[in-house]
Symmetry: C2
Subunit: 194 residues, 2 copies
Amino acid sequence: MARPREFDEDEVLDAALRVFWEKGYESAALSDLLVATGLTKSSLYKAFGSKEGLFWRVVERYQRDFLDFRHEALAEPTPRRIAARLLEGVTELHSGRRNPAGCLELNTALSGSTEAEPIRQKLVRGRELFRQRLRDRFEETSATAPLPPGMTSDDAASFIMSLIQGLAAQAKGGVPRETARRVVRAALLSWPES
Amino acid sequence: MARPREFDEDEVLDAALRVFWEKGYESAALSDLLVATGLTKSSLYKAFGSKEGLFWRVVERYQRDFLDFRHEALAEPTPRRIAARLLEGVTELHSGRRNPAGCLELNTALSGSTEAEPIRQKLVRGRELFRQRLRDRFEETSATAPLPPGMTSDDAASFIMSLIQGLAAQAKGGVPRETARRVVRAALLSWPES
DNA sequence: CTCGTTATGTACCTATCGGTCCATAATTGC
DNA sequence: GCAATTATGGACCGATAGGTACATAACGAG
């Protein structure tokens, strides 16, 4: 019983996703978002409340559409297979030519303005949460197949997280996918096969 | 035969270094730099030409004063000792409470505005140059002590570089030094002792 | 056909960005 | 002590940032 929307929310979110992915939260200007989505300022603010509101909707989609491999990875039965699936997933995601280089979340979480500090912290918290889930899965699956000798589940989880961030940073720097693949291979050399 | 400067250039550069380190190039506002250095806009522009001019002077100092361990690392006689010294250096540098969290260069190189794109690229080039030096040293020293079995010098260099970026990103996220140390230990487990 | 409701387009707002201009101050050589 | 030179203080600049106000347009319900 009112005027209908003239835009498709999915399309708008996808367009905004590209912008935030390429530039990070802060460097993505409102004007960039308007051009990319085709919305007017009024429509955007009516629909999403603010730039930050839009951003969190976008992050939601990012996790759903692009980070889904993380769930599959955690479901793997051995530490090595979990780690491999994670690292390979990150490699394919961040260093292809289909998507913007690097990681949407990292690109945002590494900027340093005081304005975006709460956003940064929320992202960091999410990262830590995933690290804990990873550690727990390493702990569980290490009964089936061992971790690299000398590594605790916690060590292993922190190690993999660091590598994931590193790969994302490298990808943003333009390091080619093939190089990333060799890094992953190298990192997994000492991880026992199932 | 002219009016003398009222500021000490070293002190100014150190103060500016902190600001750029904490915020990255873009998020470091000119006003932040003025407050931190105690300079007026006129003096800053007279002395350094522009924000970018000041930034490169600062990077120079950063590399001289804080990345000096890289040279020592490259001088080590075996791959493991090179890698260890590098990773430990990065850990101590980035995740202490003495210095701002994370890496000045990475904090800058991961932001995505089009304005700072040339700066990003220069930093990325510098990183690639160091990677090559690292690879060459791995190649040379692998005669004395082996690399981890299955890794070429190039693999090893890319692996270490990724880990360095990862540690820097983690540090910016507030991951404690002790965790970083455990990551380094884990990463070096398969690297043969000299 | 009108009314309530929601969406859109446009003009406008304040704050801040990096940077420039110019008058004035402090120095040394002569 | 005067001229030449360099440094400083502060007003000013256009561009852009994110965000708001308000009038108008398009719908469904009655």
